[in-house]
Symmetry: C2
Subunit: 522 residues, 2 copies
């Protein structure tokens, strides 16, 4: 028996065929979106996508993956999906995206997770929530993001009120794609909790929303149009139309929608309390189940059942990681390989530098996208590989701040597991082990989210009792893949003390916001 997992990324969708009995990945296929990220002709900070691109992935990548696996499609018992989030769209009560009828109105299109044009709305939501003492605010480290459903929804209302009125649904792509597969609307607990401010069984109150904008009072009516469904749950059965698209048998199980980062926990068999999965790529997302509820400063959110049913799910993030290294490589016109080789020959501290990894702002624990990078300690002898190494170390220090902040808040981090593209860089991984002073585990798959979705499909199909049981068999994790070196770890403690001092000195943004304001004025 087999399951199919489909991972919807920023630029493409990937399907993988997985054997239910042991998680073997038998075949996969990637289909790039023909429209990709739609930014042209739009104001700054806008980023849209096309729902048709997502359907194409079902039509192209799924059959290709099945062919590549060399299996009989009749042996597939379920399909699961994960999506970037919060990627969200206005739709009719039948689930038709408004952009089908109104292609010329930008607000009719799905807003991609990295659409950042609703910052003003997010700021107002945060100020109002803080002043009213809204209880849910603490569940998001004290601030909700401009990327999330309420900020983007308020932007829609304020900038295209007529279209807002016609949007009977404001729905995550994660749920919309499941609707397309099943013909039945569902809402997953993960995006509801992390992106739609669904906490303790309720959304923000109509009074709160009306105080933001009188027309916003009924906004929740566009969200609470289906029960909140658990991760790994059965969203419905594959429709005849979706069976035709995918070539899979009509009526097989379709798992409840999920998010790329969160579903990776299952792929890494890291669904028990204290297992922090860091999905490290251009940025890093940290996901961790825990049996304890706490207010962790600067976390992205804590959601009941948000990673796996029965546990609190925590999320945190670093907004610039691989992006920063790539930026430096571009600055100095050298290759990652070359700089890595030179940097790897150094002893800890030899470059005399400490950097702050805020080139793309800081998500956790400062929640300030208007911060910027700092490099301290250059001399006339400083070389490109010195800064390269210092930037890698800065992101490791940033990760340590997050881990320490969780533990200081009473949420133990028992194991640190790395997934994502950067785990291929052994030099970087060793730095993280040394800086964190703990062994690193790594995921045993290079298509973690798709595998995670397949695992959820197996649970939805009833092949396993729950996500933990399925993950134990089908997930892949290499424990203690990197061990910290005590001597290097001691040396890093001293550099980390400098990082913390700079971190705290620049955290208030007084200097960095001033520079940004002067830049924007110029």
């Amino acid at each position: 028996m087999h399951v199919v997992g489909v991972d919807y990324g920023t630029l493409s969708g990937r399907a993988v065929v997985v054997r239910v009995s042991d998680g073997a990945e038998l075949g996969s296929a990637v289909h790039p979106y023909s429209q990709g990220v739609i930014e042209e002709g739009l104001p700054p900070d806008w980023a849209l996508q096309s729902p048709r691109d997502w359907i194409e992935v079902l039509k192209v990548a799924v059959p290709e993956a099945v062919r590549a696996a060399g299996i009989d499609p009749g042996t597939v018992i379920g399909i699961g999906t994960d999506f970037t989030a919060c990627t969200i769209l206005p739709a009719t009560a039948e689930g038709e995206p408004l952009c089908y009828a109104e292609p010329d109105r930008p607000h009719a299109w799905p807003k991609l997770w990295k659409h950042h044009a609703a910052q003003a709305q997010a700021d107002r939501i945060n100020v109002l929530a803080a002043s009213r003492g809204e209880a849910w605010l603490a569940r998001y480290g004290g601030k909700i993001s401009a990327e999330w459903a309420f900020a983007k929804g308020l932007q829609l209302l304020e900038e295209d009120p007529e279209l807002y009125g016609r949007a009977e649904r404001w729905i995550e792509a994660a749920d919309w794609i499941v609707w397309q597969l099943t013909g039945v609307e569902s809402r997953n607990v993960c995006t509801a909790g992390y992106k739609e401010i669904f906490q303790d069984g309720a959304y923000p109150s109509p009074e709160f929303l009306a105080a933001l904008h009188p027309g916003f009072a009924g906004f929740v009516g566009k969200l609470n149009t289906a029960p909140i469904a658990p991760l790994g749950g059965l969203a419905g059965r594959l429709s005849a139309q979706a069976a035709a698209w995918t070539g899979l048998p009509e009526g097989i199980a379709v798992a409840v929608g999920n998010v790329d980062a969160h579903v990776t926990s299952a792929a890494a068999d890291a669904v028990r309390p204290g297992q922090m999965v860091a999905i490290m790529g251009t940025s890093t997302c940290h996901v961790m189940p825990s049996d304890r509820l706490a207010q962790v400063p600067g976390m992205c959110g804590v959601v009941a059942d948000g990673v796996v049913p029965g546990l609190w799910g925590y999320e945190a993030g670093q907004s610039g990681v691989g992006d920063i290294f790539g930026w430096w490589v571009e600055q100095v016109g050298r290759s990652h390989e070359e700089l890595t080789e030179l940097a790897a020959a150094q002893r800890v501290g030899e470059h005399g530098l400490v950097a702050l990894d805020w080139h793309n702002g800081n998500r956790s624990v400062l929640v300030d996208h208007h911060l910027s990078g700092v490099v301290v300690g250059q001399t006339l002898a400083t070389q490109p590989q010195d800064v390269y190494r210092a930037l890698i170390e800065a992101t490791a220090f940033g990760a340590r701040v997050i881990v320490e902040t969780f533990e200081a808040a009473g949420v133990p981090v028992e194991e640190f597991i790395v997934a994502g593209g950067l785990l291929k860089n052994a030099f970087l991984m060793q730095i993280y082990a040394d800086v964190l002073r703990r062994p690193l585990s790594v995921i045993g798959s290079d298509q973690g989210p798709a595998l995670g979705s397949a695992i959820h499909a197996a649970v939805a199909a009833g092949a396993y009792a729950d996500v933990q049981a399925a993950s134990k068999v089908m997930g892949k994790r290499i424990e203690r893949a990197y061990e910290p070196d005590p001597e290097r770890a001691d040396a890093y403690d001293e550099l980390y003390a400098v990082y913390r001092e700079l971190h705290d000195a620049f955290a208030d943004g007084r200097v960095l916001h001033t520079l940004r304001a002067l830049r924007n004025r110029a």
Copy 2:
């Protein structure tokens, strides 16, 4: 009638033939030192030179310059010299460098100004002087430098005491070369004041020196072997041997020794109170006569008659300027021209950056060579030209700190005059005018020190009554070559406020010294 000026730099010597009546530069020649800066096989921070290289300049460059000028050598009435300082050597009572007899002992050779291996000795001198309340310490902004005569002399004593005992003279190259020209020992007031702690007619006391090291008590006996002679004074007459070397007439006037930076004031006709000359190259040296004596924090020194007789002479410095821009160009593999063109197209503040220009430490006003550079405000959109411009601005901010510190101490800066290689960069010059909020004058010669030495030769030969009178005729200065733009100056005020904040925050060295210590340990 003509005079010859000889400028002894770090890598070469330059001779110029100048017409006495109007300062016209008729011909010049450069001779690179064959041994250059001697560093190979020596411990870190050591830098030596060979006296034979200096003599070669007299033999080669002077006759070449006379030939290039197309003049009759018989029309030359005087020769003047300037030197890097403190470049200093041990010699016999006859002026023979000890390295002639002891070529295999490093301490027998002249220590170049940038020999930095006597820092430990300088530190002890400063601590002791402060604890004893030595009055002269304030004349050096509170700290003497490891580059100067006492630190280097104490290093000689402690590391090669036998050679120290044989050194009947501890003499500046500036004075040694004049001795070679005249056959008569002299000591110039400029190096005596700025490098040998000669203040108010006295050197540091034997008690103070004995407290540093019992064997150091008589050190001054190696210095005070000739009267202190005024700048522009007649040191002696050209000896037969020196006439043979140079092809100049025996018996012509030889001016008292001088220092490359200080002699440039005469070349720029900037020898009146409040005329600050900034010699901008790899580093910047600021020289200014004033009629007021004050304690300016972090100045290099204030010396009576130290720039021009009859006035107090102030010196300050920035230890990294052109060096820092060159370093960045090397980092990113782009050219100065390319980065300048891109940076020049920007509006003030557009790059969102502020840097601290401490990549080679900070001379004025912090007097701390163990500081290092800082760059603040990078984002993923930051480009190489952004940092390039920010580094240029940082050095301009550093210059403004110096100017403001002088004025706050009650020493007015009436005019800012630029000399040195960087004045060719019009973009950089305009930034300085905008940052300083004042017009910039520029020197009208590209061989300022050699011209300045020639002017001093004319005074020594009696062609002019004093240095001011000679400078007025022979010196060259273009007033208001760059005017500040009020709008840009306003914008720079805001960036400068950020620079000052960072400057003061990092000034205590707590963070930067820690990084340096970790680097040195690694």
